[in-house]
């Protein structure tokens, strides 16, 4: 299973970016191989609008089944839901720590958007 985590700068030791659509990067963690892969999000960062929609589509196409981020707005939430991606939130810490919290089932699944549009 692939887990996408929003990241400031990329890498397992980077901080989780609290923004989803305009996160500086995504780190994909594959639970089968235990490997981390960085995914650029320049398109989302520079999007004139709908950054969350574009980011949700991108991580869906890359096969993410789980997303860990800080916050999620209404359009991103709707798109992620439609793609069948489960959303978990963390308030701080590194990407690797977020993955550990997820593995130990310490994160709660998000059932509704927690910020308005244009939050990030």
């Amino acid at each position: 299973m692939k887990i996408a985590v929003t990241s400031i700068g990329g890498g397992a030791d980077s901080e989780v970016d609290p923004r989803f659509g305009r996160a500086s990067a995504f780190v994909f963690f594959d639970t089968d191989t235990g490997k981390y892969v960085n995914v650029d999000n320049t398109v989302g960062v520079n999007a004139s609008q709908g950054a969350g929609v574009r980011a949700a589509e991108a991580i869906s196409q890359l096969g993410a089944e789980v997303l860990i981020t800080g916050h999620c707005g209404p359009k991103a939430f709707r798109t992620l839901r439609a793609a069948g991606i489960e959303i978990f939130t963390v308030s701080s810490g590194s990407v690797a720590e977020a993955i550990e919290h997820f593995k130990f089932e310490e994160l709660t699944s998000m059932s509704s958007p927690d910020v308005g549009g244009h939050w990030g």
Binding site: G50, V53, E57, R78, A83
Partner: protein
């Protein structure tokens, strides 16, 4: 002849100039209130614009049975209004600018267009003056298509005045584009000067002749005049900083019908603009406006 009244800064007196200029011109005058987020020229004309001309933009409607999720539509959309997921397609009509591109590129012909209303165009007759205004739906963010619909109501004869929305963004450009002349209204303050310079740069790019009206002249500083001097901009009119003008405005009344001393001011502006109109020529043909750039 089409004259647009615009300004970089809001609240400088665009509508005051547009309304009082409209009342000072002779012959047929049409006033197009393109400040569709806050159309207020009708207040000063005691007119009640009516009409049920609903303006909408085409947004995609995807037939899920025909869609094979190839993603061409999403790759084309610069506004991220359509997302193609392994599980289906999600459309966000509120993000769509109505360019119609997704419908064109869909190889499966799975996308048709449905109209999403964004506002209405209303009209009223006030004496010799014909008023047309756009009124944007509350909460709507997409403005240029409605402004273009108001602009499309222009008469081919006589003077057409366009009351533009403030700023120098897409909505201001949609309102002033295709005009023969732009009157830039400003105030003699650092804010007025800063935003006047932005507006001047914008109309220069659009290639439209322009001049400046200084409202509340006598207050503030000399920055605007010095700028106009340095840039070779004609100061068409100075409206004095006068308490009676502010009071008349705040009662929702026209200046020229209530303060006799203001009549020659707007009469001279009207004469100046009428002199610019080419003899024996109606309005300049509207240039083709790109549909997608909203």
């Amino acid at each position: 002849m089409i004259v647009a009244i615009a300004s970089g800064k809001g609240g400088t007196g665009k509508t005051t100039v547009a309304v009082n200029l409209a009342l000072s011109l002779s012959g047929d005058v049409q006033l197009l209130d393109c400040d569709v987020e806050a159309p207020n020229a009708h207040l000063f004309l005691r007119a009640n614009p009516e009409g049920n001309d609903v303006i909408g933009i085409p947004v995609p409607d995807v037939d899920v049975d025909l869609c094979n999720q190839c993603g061409e539509c999403s790759r084309l959309c610069q506004y991220n209004a359509i997302a193609v997921l392994g599980t289906g397609v999600v459309v966000f009509p509120e993000l769509c600018h109505g360019c119609g591109g997704c419908t064109l590129v869909c190889p499966e012909k799975a996308i048709s267009e449905v109209m999403r209303p964004i506002g209405v165009v209303e009209e009223a007759r006030a004496g010799q003056l014909w008023l047309v205004q756009g009124r944007l739906n509350v909460g709507e963010a997409l403005v240029p298509p409605l402004i273009r619909a108001v602009r499309a109501k222009k008469h081919d004869q006589g003077m057409v005045l366009v009351d533009a929305p403030p700023g120098t963004s897409c909505s201001m450009i949609a309102a002033v584009r295709g005009s023969d002349f732009v009157v830039l209204v400003t105030e003699p303050t650092p804010f007025g000067l800063n935003d006047l310079a932005l507006a001047v740069e914008t109309v220069r790019v659009l290639g439209i002749p322009h001049g400046v009206v200084i409202n509340r002249a006598g207050s503030g500083d000399d920055g605007v005049k010095e700028y106009c001097d340095a840039e070779g901009l004609e100061i068409l009119l100075e409206i004095p900083d006068d308490r009676r003008i502010a009071e008349t405005y705040s009662r929702g009344l026209a200046l020229v019908t209530n303060i006799p001393e203001t009549r020659p001011l707007f009469a001279s502006l009207a004469a100046r603009l009428e002199a610019l109109a080419p003899v024996g020529r109606g309005c300049r043909a509207e240039k083709g406006l790109p549909r997608a750039h909203a």
